[in-house]
C-alpha cells in the first residue's frame, strides 16, 4: 500500500501529540497522546475524508514487550481504526492512556456508533470516557467488580457473580409458585 500522506499532515497539525508513527503489514499506525484525541479524530474525519470508524478497542500494555521500559508508552491505549470509503485509505491511531488518569475523551459526538464500543472498553478495560452520554457496563453484569481484559485479572475470574446466589434462590422459590397458590394468596 502506498503512503497516504496523512501521517505527515497529522505531524504538522499536531506536533505535540504525535509520538511515533510506523507501518506494519502495509498498515499505517500513529501513536498519540490522549489530550487532543477528539480534535485529531475530527481532523481525520473532516480533513482526510475518513468517514468510517472500523473499530475501537483498548489494549493493556503492562506486559507488552515492545512497551516495557519505553517512555512513549503508557499503561493502556485506545486504538481507533479509520477508513475512507472514497480514497480507500486507512489509518490506525493508538492513543496512550496512563494508569493514574485512566480517562479519554469520547468520540460519540463524531461517530454515534462508537457508543457501544466505548462502553465495552469501559466495561472490560476500565477506561473512563469523558462526555460519553451513557457510560455503563455493557457485557458484564452492572454490579460486576473488576475489568476482565486487564492483564492482572485471572482467566478463570475472581469468583462467582454476587447476584448469582440470590438469583438461584429466587428461581427455587418461584418453582413452588403457580397459578393456584397465587389465587389462594389473594383470597
Amino acid at each position: 500500500m502506498e503512503s497516504t500522506g496523512i501521517i505527515p499532515r497529522l505531524e504538522v497539525s499536531y506536533p505535540d501529540d504525535v509520538l511515533h508513527s510506523y507501518q506494519y503489514c502495509g498498515q499505517d499506525v500513529v501513536l498519540t497522546r490522549k489530550k487532543h484525541i477528539l480534535d485529531i479524530c475530527s481532523f481525520i474525519r473532516d480533513q482526510c475524508a475518513m468517514n468510517h470508524l472500523m473499530f475501537l478497542c483498548a489494549v493493556d500494555n503492562s506486559r507488552r514487550k515492545e512497551a516495557i521500559g519505553k517512555n512513549e508508552y503508557e499503561r493502556f491505549e485506545v486504538v481507533y481504526q479509520f477508513y475512507s470509503m472514497t480514497t480507500k485509505h486507512s489509518i490506525r491511531i493508538r492513543a496512550q492512556v496512563p494508569d493514574d488518569d485512566c480517562s479519554i475523551e469520547s468520540i460519540t459526538s463524531l461517530w454515534p456508533g462508537a457508543d457501544c464500543l466505548e462502553r465495552e472498553c469501559f466495561d472490560l478495560m476500565g477506561i473512563h470516557f469523558s462526555s460519553h452520554p451513557d457510560l455503563r457496563r455493557i457485557l458484564m453484569p452492572e454490579d460486576w467488580k473488576g475489568h476482565p481484559l486487564r492483564k492482572e485479572y485471572p482467566l478463570r475470574g475472581i469468583g462467582e457473580w454476587a447476584g448469582y446466589e440470590t438469583l438461584k434462590e429466587k428461581s427455587l422459590e418461584l418453582r413452588t409458585f403457580d397459578y393456584r397458590s397465587s389465587q389462594k394468596g389473594n383470597e
Binding site: Q27, C57, M85, G113, D115, C116, L117, L139, L155
Partner: protein
Amino acid sequence: MSRKISFNCPVQAGDEDRYRIQMGPQHPATHGVLRVDLDLDGEIIRKCNPHVGYLHRGFEKLAEHRTYVQNLVLTDRLDYMAAMANNVGYCEAVEKLLAIEVPQRSRYLRTMVCEMARLASHLLWLATHALDIGAMTVFLYCFREREELLEIFAELCGSRLTNTYTRLGGVRQDVTHSIMMKLEKFVDSFPSNLEEYETLIDTNRIWLKRTIDVGTVGADEAVGLCLTGASLRGSGVDYDIRKHFPYAAYDFMDFEVPLGETGDTYARYRCRIEEMLQSNSILRQCIERMPPGPIIGDDAPDLIMPNKPGRKVEVDVPAQQSLIKLVEDRETFMEGDVYVATEVPKGELGFYFVSDGNGTPYRMHIRSPSFLHISALKTMAKGSMLADLIAIIGTLDVVLGECDR
C-alpha cells in the same frame, strides 16, 4: 402459601402515562437473548435501550491464553449461522500477521464456502424476518434450501454448523466429486427457487406495508452509526470488503455489489435478495474455475492433536512451542499489530491482533457487526411503532453469539 410479586418499576413524576415494557431476553422475535427496554407513548417508542451480554463468553480474554491454532474453534461460536465465513475471516487475519502463503486452490475453496455460508445465513435471515412479520410459508421454503447447503457442509467437513473447515495456511479437506455435483445441482436450481419466494412476499400488500418506510436510515447517518454489510448498502453506500480489501479469491470473481436507495427495511430486503443471486453466481464461477493443486501451504503450522488414552506418542510437543519454533525458523513472527476485515453475511467482521512475538495473541479484538448494529437500534427504533421494532431487529440481521462474544 401466599406470596405477592411486586414489579419494581419506579415511574418518574410527569411520566405516568408512559408504558415501560421489557422485551426479551426470551422473546422469539429478538433472535437470541437480546433484551430491549422500551418507553412507550401509546404505541410509539420514545426510548429504546438494548441490553446485551447474556451470551458473553469472554472470547477475547480466552484467546490470550490459547495459541493461534486453538483460537480457530472459538470463531465458529461467534456467528453460528455462518461459521465458515468466520473461520475464513480469522485465518485471513492470522495469515497476514504470520505471513503465511495460501495456495490458489484453497483460496477458491474458501471463497466457495464463504458464499455458501452467506447463502445459508441470508436464507435463515429471510425465513425468520418473514416469520416475524407474519409470512409463515417463506420460512418453510427457506429452510428447505438451507438444509441442502448444510448437508453439503456436513459432507465436506463433518459438521453442519460449527465447521472449523479452514486451517492456517489452507483448508482442512479437499472437495470430492460428489460434493461438487451436489453443489452444482443446488446452484442450478437456486435462482428459480428464489423467484418462488419473491412471488410470495415481494409484492405482497402486507409485506410492503410492514417494510416500506420502516426503520429508514440515511446514507450519512448509516455510516456514522457504523453499520456495515447489507444494512449499510440498503442506504446506498457502496462499501463491501470483498471489493475494498479483496481476500481469498474475490479478486478473480466477477460480481456486483447490489445497492439500495431508500434505506428502509424494504431496500435492505431487496439488497439481500440480490446479494443471494450474486453469491450464486460466485459459486458457479468457483465450480467452473476451481484450479488444481495443493489445499494447504508448505509453511502452515502443524496441528498437534491431544493424546488419545492408551496410545503412546513418542514426541510430545505442546502446540504453543511448536508454533513458536515454526515462526522462529522463518523469522517472520515479529512484534506488531494488524487489523484484517472480511465481509461476513452480517457485515464487516474484523480481527485486530496485537502480537508479542509469542505463540499466543497478546490481545485479540473481534469487531463484530452485530454488536454495532444493536448499538444502532437505539437510534433507529426511536419514534417508530412497537410492531415495527420487530421488523427493525429483523432487518439489521443480528446474531447474539457474535454480538456478545
